[in-house]
Symmetry: C2
Subunit: 127 residues, 2 copies
């Protein structure tokens, strides 16, 4: 049974009201302004819970800490190899991928994640 908690609300709200892809640490620093005593463990615990519940999305990039996304609509991400920033790729998501892959795979495919990498617009211009 899940009980309500003000901290969890704040974490959810923080993610819903931003368009970037913050780390747990970033969310933690932000929420500290309203909850000076909030613990980093609480942030991690609730980010995990919320992503299990499907209210947010966890993005593991392989470079640096995990990111989180309040937008759970399927979409692709891009990580810059230079600044490690994560951006959305705004193109039509290939919805048929799961079905396509299932044909050649004898297990159960529940979902997928597509990530691009390269140079972000910012780093592209300054180097």
């Amino acid at each position: 049974m899940i009980k309500h908690s003000r901290q969890r609300d704040a974490i959810r709200d923080n993610l819903m009201n931003r368009c970037d892809h913050p780390t747990a640490e970033t969310v933690y620093m932000d929420i500290k302004e309203d909850f000076p005593n909030i613990s980093l463990g609480t942030v991690y615990r609730n980010l995990s819970l919320l992503s299990e519940l499907g209210e947010i999305q966890k993005i593991s990039t392989g470079a640096g800490p995990d990111r989180f996304d309040g937008n759970v609509k399927p979409h692709c991400h891009f990580q810059c190899k230079m600044c490690y920033n994560v951006l959305d790729i705004p193109f039509e998501y290939p919805e048929e991928l799961n079905a396509h892959a299932s044909k050649s795979f004898p297990g159960i495919i529940e979902g997928n994640s597509i990530q691009f990498y390269g140079l972000c617009p910012n780093c592209m211009n300054t180097h």
Copy 2:
């Protein structure tokens, strides 16, 4: 300037002669049979170097340690949510993805990775 090393050869060979997606730890344990004194740091260093050189591929899954793949041809991976094993998805890789994404993204897209998740054939049957 890169100098030859027997340890690096053994690491490369190990990855080339297997079809799974071992972790650094697994490679380390395997190679210990031929190089009892090899250090885990050496394995990590060479796996990084080899993947920078494009001789092998690094797979970051977001669940558990990184995996490595001696097959550098573009292909998709699947990770089981239950046993965390990583498998290949043997379907035609959507080569046009990068070009497609580039149209709607003002940075430079160098590559992508597609990962599926769900239940592997093994876990599907035993649960």
